[in-house]
């Protein structure tokens, strides 16, 4: 079975192919594919360069979905979650993940995995898993944990993919050290996270010590190159960073987001936005009862030019809850000044009036 060759319709693979085609069609019409032709072309271009002659068989989709995951179906359709791109510090790290997934595809690991799965899962479940991996949830949230099952490879397959992935990455001009670096970042995030929630990517690619060591060794042995231009990455990602951070807060990834934000801060990007989200995540996290840190983070954000206007709104909300009516009113007024056309300004004006009544 060659990658990209459609299997005969009466075969087992034929049935699964149909399921994958349906899943791809469902993804395309789901409203989740980010409608930015530039962004889509950018990711497709990276995948293409890494896939070489198999580029013609690839279809890539960047979907709006928080969390770190990328998945590739044996029929050549690949999805990359926006949460994954958010967590990459540069294009080389993005290329590392894409290259790794393509390696699984080229080595037909996915197809072997499909065949094993077939014995225990019905087509509807397979469809559900493919959809979930693509970022179009179908069933229970718990299914996301099972998503790892679809991508779970053997140790040998992982080693093969790591090796081939690094090879193609380096050949394309990317620094191979980006691969272990990305994994270190993910592990750090995983350690901060709530252990109950399964990380789909980790269930399929367990970040064992053994793998990390192997990956570091491979990277060290590879030719060190860093010729690929990387400005496009920063240009495109800055367009979306705030939105994608908001998505992570919206799904309650409060602990993970702090790890991501520290890294972005270290890399020197968007300090005002970063401090805002640090404060906002603490504000929204119900388990954090003491909001002092949240207030401090929001105040810190305001020291920077790029702090979004909603920083004042969040500050107002917190101060009001703390009983600092005057401080809250001031913050809300600043919000109204900074965001004159905010669509919730009437609501904020109401909050101000209520606070005036109290004092």
């Amino acid at each position: 079975m060659q990658p990209g060759v459609t299997p005969p319709a009466d075969s087992v693979e034929g049935g699964l192919w149909m399921v994958m085609e349906k899943a791809e069609l469902r993804l395309k019409t789901s409203g989740r594919v980010i409608p930015d032709a530039e962004l889509q072309a950018y990711v497709h271009d990276i995948a293409c360069r890494l896939a070489g002659e198999h580029c013609a068989n690839l279809r890539t989709y960047v979907v709006r979905q928080p969390g770190f995951n990328a998945a590739m179906a044996p029929n050549g359709f690949m999805t990359v979650w926006s949460g994954l791109i958010l967590r990459c510090e540069n294009e080389a790290q993005l290329a590392a993940v894409i290259g790794h997934e393509i390696a699984h595809f080229l080595r037909r690991h996915s197809l072997q995995r499909w065949e094993t799965m077939r014995d225990s899962l019905g087509a509807a479940q397979v469809f559900g898993l493919v959809s979930a991996a693509a970022g179009v949830p179908l069933g229970d949230i718990a299914l996301l944990g099972a998503v790892g099952y679809i991508q779970a490879y053997s140790r040998d397959q992982e080693r093969e993919a790591d090796e081939l992935g690094l090879e193609t990455m380096t050949a394309a001009g990317y620094d191979p050290q980006a691969a272990p670096q990305l994994w270190r970042n993910l592990i750090a995030e995983g350690e901060a996270a709530d252990k109950d929630e399964p990380n789909p990517f980790f269930s399929s690619h367990p970040p064992t010590k053994e793998r990390m060591e192997m990956l570091s060794d491979l990277a060290a042995a590879a030719r060190t190159t860093d010729t690929a231009k990387q400005d496009r990455f920063h240009e495109l990602v800055s367009r979306y960073r705030a939105v994608w951070l908001e998505d992570e807060v919206d799904v309650g990834r409060y602990a993970e987001i702090q790890v991501i934000l520290s890294r972005i801060k270290e890399d020197g990007h968007m300090p005002g936005v970063v401090w805002y989200y640090q404060g906002e995540a603490l504000r929204r996290h119900a388990e954090v009862e003491d909001k002092t840190e949240a207030i401090a983070a929001l105040r810190k954000a305001l020291e920077f030019d790029d702090a979004p206007a909603v920083t004042y709104r969040s500050l107002g909300l917190l101060l009001a809850k703390q009983g600092d009516a005057a401080g809250a009113r001031r913050a809300y007024q600043s919000y109204l000044e900074k965001a004159a056309d905010a669509d919730d300004r009437e609501m904020i004006r109401y909050y101000i009036k209520e606070l005036e009544k109290r004092s």
């Binding site: 789901s30 709006r64 919206d250 119900a286 669509d343 919730d344 609501m347």
Partner: protein, 190 residues
């Protein structure tokens, strides 16, 4: 065997349902009390189904248009606990409208909505009491575009109470909008 059990399960549900009609008529001629919180008088006939503290109305079917009354979400409760599960964000007594918007967005996420946008959060009065109102849009779990509007009222006795109109963006939101607006306009607090 799972398939057989699934079908048997269906059979039982069917048997239960067939015993009674699930939907009741809500006639425009009179006022209706909902959850002991709201009184409402629709301008046209609706079909209604109750489920605990939620009452859902429709004309053509829930996936096409729905008016949902969710009452008495008190401190520590989630808006849609069965759907959202144990980790769901819950209503707290010191929450305001902006906080409720975040709670509602979490419900939409649990319903597998994507591209959710909330607009125009503003004050809204019901029986002289201060409430709030906002609109939203998104794609549902099947990729069907949906639009909605929400009216909310928080009070110390009943906690959070919401009235939601949601419909398919293609045709239904506009077609049933007048009927829904009339329901909203007639809202009274008991």
């Amino acid at each position: 065997m799972t398939r057989a059990l699934n079908l048997i399960g269906c059979f039982l549900v069917v048997a239960l349902l067939a015993g009674c009609t699930t939907f009741v008529a809500v006639s425009p001629a009179k006022k209706h009390e909902i959850g002991n919180v709201f009184r409402v008088q629709p301008s046209t006939l609706w079909s209604a189904k109750k489920d605990g503290n939620v009452e859902n109305w429709t004309i053509n079917g829930f996936d096409l248009e729905i008016v949902s009354f969710i009452t008495k979400v008190t401190e520590g409760k989630a808006i849609a606990p069965k759907l959202q599960g144990d980790d769901a964000p819950t209503f707290q007594a010191d929450m305001n409208a902006t906080d409720v918007v975040n709670l509602y967005e979490a419900v939409l996420t649990a319903r597998k909505f994507s591209q959710v946008e909330v607009r125009n959060l503003r004050p809204h009065t019901i029986s002289g009491k201060d409430g709030f109102r906002f609109e939203y849009s998104g794609f549902d779990a099947n990729g069907l575009a949906k639009r909605g509007m929400v009216v909310g009222l928080i009070d110390s006795e009943n906690g959070l109470n919401l009235v939601i109109y949601e419909a398919a963006a293609e045709h239904y939101y506009d077609a049933s909008r007048e009927a829904a607006e009339n329901v909203f306009d007639s809202l009274e607090k008991i």
